[in-house]
């Protein structure tokens, strides 16, 4: 702990020492970049000084920028894809504030259909392994049941793979599903799925954009091995009241946003609910009529500009799934998050953000049948205090530093029952832990075409009392169990995570990059099911479970192509080494297991691959083509005689094509094509009989493959011509999921052949085939 604080102290010292020296010779231009129509921050907007080649910057996550220049008269040019570029002439004698409001569309109005990101930005920055998805971009991508979904669209990018048909789970560069840090306005979302994963928890109406880091994570992020998915909610329109909504096959949505005080503050409220349960009421079966099956989610956000130096934000999310069968069974589960943020400008070159974040995932099961009335409760809850500073010592440098402390409370499922019940209550095995981190990250444009990002993250994890923890022998038998008292630090792990990235721009259109990052993970999800289950169990790093560590090196080549730079091409290759990976002994039952650590195995892993991505972000035809060639392997002494074996998420080839074509102002058409190698699975290598029943005999873990996967989805969007003077817009989106009707194997089971009792057969189950959907969307 003291070490961590001294690092922070060092940063502050650095800041104080270097700050004033720069300030004397230079002038600072700072301000914000916003969307003129809605007041939304335009993070990532490019600000450059036309007269000074190579002097420029990007707006940060809150739309704030700062530039340091010698005194003089300059033209400041601010641009953001999808917005008209703005130029402003300024004469600088003293530091000054410059706020920009960009008008959407501008001269490119008819051309810009997919306003994904600035095509140049990817070339010059040192950051690699990053992709951004703009919500406008996914609106026309066809999806299952017509519910547009950021997480599902994410899996169409190279290196990111869906965990299974219709699943919201995803794996990044050969990592496990739980190795992705999913943040919604900085709050961790522990279970990003509704209804067994067929929907993600993110209502696209509330989302502004999504950034995913597949490698070379900046030092301000940590806590998971594979990726960071940073999802930002919209701030809400601070100009005028707007509403939007949609009526779909499965769910309906409604959103309202508007100013609290024009130009100063705004709010956003969105709601979504499924209505499959309404159809249950129509059933002739009384049990079905009394059953429930639905989910809803609510997003709310508000922000207020106190003055030029201070702005506050609140954002919250509440989602819940409910599932019940008559009076006998009821289950609810969901996430709750809340984020309070305070943006503060200490000087025009020191930006600060302070966040207090609450995050919770819980589930509850209630059973009442005969004399067995009981309930099962479980939760994971975080209180997170986070402080980030951004300091701009010169236009060629940005220094980010900060720290955070997260207090985790994890209650594994435990039974509550009164004495009259036929079931015993079980002990509440709640555990407590503290996750801390301090980081410093330095962006440096060393030469006009050479950029470095150097970072260091120091992360700590402490298991706290009270609690009972056991030690085990090699076979998983308890050797000793110790009770620990309240407020004790039981075990602390401290890890240093270096991060480094460099880019060299070869010419106007191309660059090469390389990066290295170490990531540490201290919360581990135990799940042995294919589908995401609401009762999946999180466990903390403990005496036995060591922090997971990943070291990733990657290199890439980036290029824009075409006369208007309308194409961008990326090739990235990576190698990842994993330590302290978790698996279970054969036959482990995770649910209702009070001693799950006894069943754990510890091993290592490696993942490597190469990813190709070609994007076209402007023009009538937009979209991308992504291909990944990769391998992901694990090694455990107790599995396959200690040899490397393919992990479940190992897929050799993975190809996805996304195309959107704007036929005319009314109609646009879209298509998605996905094909990949099947997952690594374990099939029987023999059979035998027990009690006249056929039993499969299994050999090596994951030695077989599911059949290859292939799917084509088609979509069409009709936008009703806009009537002059009317604010009301409407559109229809039609889609067909799996339009080729290919039966993709979701699972394969082996059974006695009913037609020939002397033989066995393999039967595959396919889930979705020709699923049509229609959604009506409106806004005003």
């Amino acid at each position: 702990m003291p070490l961590r604080f001294s690092l922070l102290g060092l940063c502050l010292l650095l800041l104080l020492a270097s700050g004033p020296a720069w300030a004397q010779s230079r002038i600072t231009l700072s301000g914000t970049v916003k969307d003129a129509s809605s007041g939304e921050n335009l993070s990532g907007a490019t600000i450059r000084i036309v007269e000074l080649s190579g002097v420029g910057t990007g707006a940060n996550a809150y739309g704030f920028f700062t530039l340091t220049v010698p005194s003089g008269t300059y033209t400041v040019e601010v641009s953001f894809v999808g917005f008209a570029t703005q130029k402003r002439s300024v004469t600088t004698t003293a530091s000054q504030r410059l706020d920009f409001k960009l008008v959407p569309g501008g001269s490119e109005l008819t051309e810009v259909l997919v306003t994904a990101r600035s095509t140049d930005a990817g070339i010059s920055k040192a950051q690699m392994g990053v992709e951004t998805i703009d919500l406008k971009q996914i609106a026309k991508v066809p999806v299952l049941f017509g519910e547009k979904d950021v997480i599902k669209t994410l899996t169409l990018l190279p290196g990111i793979k869906s965990a299974g048909e219709g699943s919201s789970g995803f794996t990044v560069r050969g990592g496990a599903v739980d190795q992705n840090l999913i943040l919604l306005d900085e709050a961790t979302v522990y279970n990003a799925s509704h209804l067994l994963g067929f929907f993600s928890t993110f209502n696209s109406d509330a989302i502004k954009d999504l950034t995913v880091y597949k490698g070379g994570m900046p030092a301000q992020y940590g806590g998971r091995l594979s990726s960071v998915v940073d999802i930002k909610m919209k701030d809400g329109n601070n100009q005028q009241l707007h509403g939007s909504g949609g009526i779909g096959l499965i769910a309906s949505r409604l959103a309202l946003e508007g100013p609290i005080v024009k130009d100063k503050g705004s709010f956003l409220v969105t709601a979504r609910r499924t209505y499959a349960d309404i159809f249950l009421k129509l059933s002739s079966n009384p049990t079905t009529r009394q059953s429930s099956l639905y989910f809803y989610d609510l997003n709310a956000k508000a922000n207020y500009v106190l003055n030029e130096r201070n702005r506050v934000f609140f954002s919250g999310y509440l989602g819940r799934d409910a599932l019940g069968f008559s009076n006998t069974f009821g289950q609810t589960y969901g996430n709750q998050t809340g984020t309070l943020r305070w943006n503060h400008l200490f000087t025009d070159r020191i930006f600060s953000n302070t966040s207090l974040i609450f995050s919770k995932y819980d589930y509850q099961i209630k059973i009442s049948s005969n004399d067995r009335n009981f309930s099962i409760d479980s939760k994971i809850q975080d209180w997170n205090l986070k402080q980030d500073f951004e300091f701009y010592p010169s236009s060629a440098q940005t220094l980010r530093f900060g720290g955070q402390a997260i207090y985790h409370t994890i209650t594994p499922g435990h039974v509550t029952a009164d004495a009259s019940s036929g079931i015993n209550a079980t002990a509440d095995k709640t555990n407590y832990s503290l996750e801390t981190a301090a980081y410093v990250s330095h962006d440096w444009q060393a030469a006009p075409r050479l950029n470095f990002t150097t970072g260091l993250r120091l992360s700590g994890f402490s298991l706290l009392g009270p609690g009972t923890y056991s030690s085990y022998d090699a076979a998983g038998n308890v050797l000793a169990a110790t009770d620990y008292a309240c407020n004790k630090f039981l075990k602390t792990y401290v890890k240093l995570e270096p991060r480094f990235a460099a880019s060299l721009q070869l010419n106007e259109a191309s660059s090469v990059k390389a990066s290295y990052a170490r990531n540490v993970q201290n919360l581990h999800l135990l799940s042995n099911a294919n589908a995401s289950s609401p009762t999946d169990l999180y466990i903390p790093t403990s005496f036995n479970v060591k922090p997971e560590v990943a070291d990733q090196v990657s290199a890439g080549y980036y290029r824009t192509l075409g006369p208007k730079k309308e194409y961008s091409m990326t090739v990235e290759t990576y190698y990842k080494a994993l330590q302290n990976q978790l698996d279970y002994r054969d036959g482990t039952q995770l649910q209702g297991n009070f001693d799950v650590e006894a069943s754990l195995l510890y091993g290592t892993g490696r993942a490597y691959g190469i990813e190709f991505l070609v994007r076209k972000d402007v023009g009538r035809l937009t979209g991308w083509l992504g291909y990944t060639l990769s391998r992901s392997e694990r090694k455990f002494t107790e599995i396959n005689q200690g040899a490397y074996f393919p992990s479940r998420q190992d897929r050799t080839h993975d190809l996805s094509v996304v195309a959107i074509y704007q036929f005319n102002p009314k109609w646009s058409f879209s298509g998605t094509f996905v094909t990949s190698t099947g997952n690594a699975v374990t099939f029987p290598v023999g059979k035998y009989q027990i009690g006249n029943q056929l039993v499969s005999y299994f050999g090596k873990r994951n030695a077989d493959r599911m059949p290859f996967y292939q799917r084509l989805d088609l979509g069409a969007t009709y936008e009703k011509p806009h009537q002059e003077g009317h604010r009301f817009h409407s559109s229809w989106t039609f889609s067909v999921y799996n339009a080729l009707g290919r039966e993709n194997a979701y699972s394969i089971r082996f059974e006695a052949d009913p037609n020939d009792p002397s033989r066995t057969r393999a039967v595959q189950t396919a889930l979705f085939k020709f699923i049509p959907s229609a959604t009506y969307n409106f806004s005003f």
Binding site: P286, T287, F325, I423, V685, K687, Y688, S747, V763
Partner: protein
């Protein structure tokens, strides 16, 4: 309970996907394996001698022909020092003569074949009385009929139970297993639902009015419970929740498949009104 939970979720998923899922038989090229020894040994406290069957596994693509293992030396001993060698009554079927199952005693079964010895120990548990058998309407499908078994679990964790259900004399292949993890010391009335799996209960297993129902209750030792629990995991074939499949946890040393169970056996019958 956790299993119940999964079943319900699956039912919900089925509801959601109604009409969209489809199945077909496919051709798969499967790996082969060396033939494995399969031992099934039972000793009950019903006055019958020990019965052991020895077979070998086959490759998956072959016909269901499981060669009997003949000429093995099979010995049974108990913790009082008594010992007998089982005789081969028919190819692969070995029967004891003198030793009987007595609650509280630990039995060791040793099988020697092909120069390798396989040993399992099983303790015949203290008998928990089979207090009652009744039927009730199914929880979800109220038109169906479920058998309900009643017993009082003795205080102290570790009691494990296996129920076998016979409809009109025909055995339901499901291994209905229970332990006292959540019901220690409680009076238990448990319906024999197909939770925890074990084969596909077909229509012929469905109970109906007028049927003769017979249920056998076995007290099994915790290792045998583990065997049947992990066997059920690969028999139930629940696609959405399938774990990485693994061979059941046998109580035999030496790498044989199967189990040896010394158990009690209590039977109740009724006619379904």
């Amino acid at each position: 309970m956790p299993r119940l939970n999964k079943q319900l979720l699956l039912a919900a998923a089925a509801l959601l996907l109604a009409g969209t899922g489809c199945e077909k038989t496919i051709d798969l090229k499967l790996n082969t394996s060396d033939s494995q020894l399969v031992i099934e040994g039972n000793l009950a406290d019903d006055g019958q001698p020990c019965q052991v069957s020895l077979n070998r596994s086959a490759n998956y693509a072959e016909t269901n022909n499981f060669p009997a293992v003949t000429g093995a030396t099979v010995t049974l001993s108990d913790d009082t020092g008594a010992r007998e060698t089982l005789r081969e009554a028919s190819p692969g079927q070995y029967r004891g003569a003198t030793l009987r199952g007595v609650p509280g005693r630990a039995y060791t079964l040793r099988v020697e074949t092909g120069g390798t010895a396989y040993v399992a120990v099983s303790t015949l548990p203290v008998v928990v009385p089979f207090d009652g058998l009744r039927t009730q309407p199914g929880t979800f499908d109220t038109k169906s009929i479920q058998a309900v078994v009643e017993y009082t679990d003795p205080v102290g964790e570790g009691n494990s139970y296996l129920f076998r259900q016979y409809r009109n004399g025909r055995l339901n292949k499901t291994y209905f297993i229970q332990n006292d993890k959540f019901t220690d010391g409680k009076r238990v009335s448990q319906s024999l639902r197909n939770m925890g799996g074990g084969g596909t209960a077909d229509d012929l297993d469905k109970l109906a009015s007028g049927d003769s129902l017979r249920v056998e209750m076995q007290n099994i030792d915790p290792n045998v419970y583990e065997y049947f629990r992990t066997l059920n995991q690969i028999l139930q074939n629940n696609p959405a929740f399938s774990t990485t499949p693994a061979n059941p946890k046998s109580n035999f040393s030496g790498g044989a498949l199967g189990y040896f169970s010394a158990h009690s056996r209590r039977v109740r019958r009724l006619f379904i009104p």
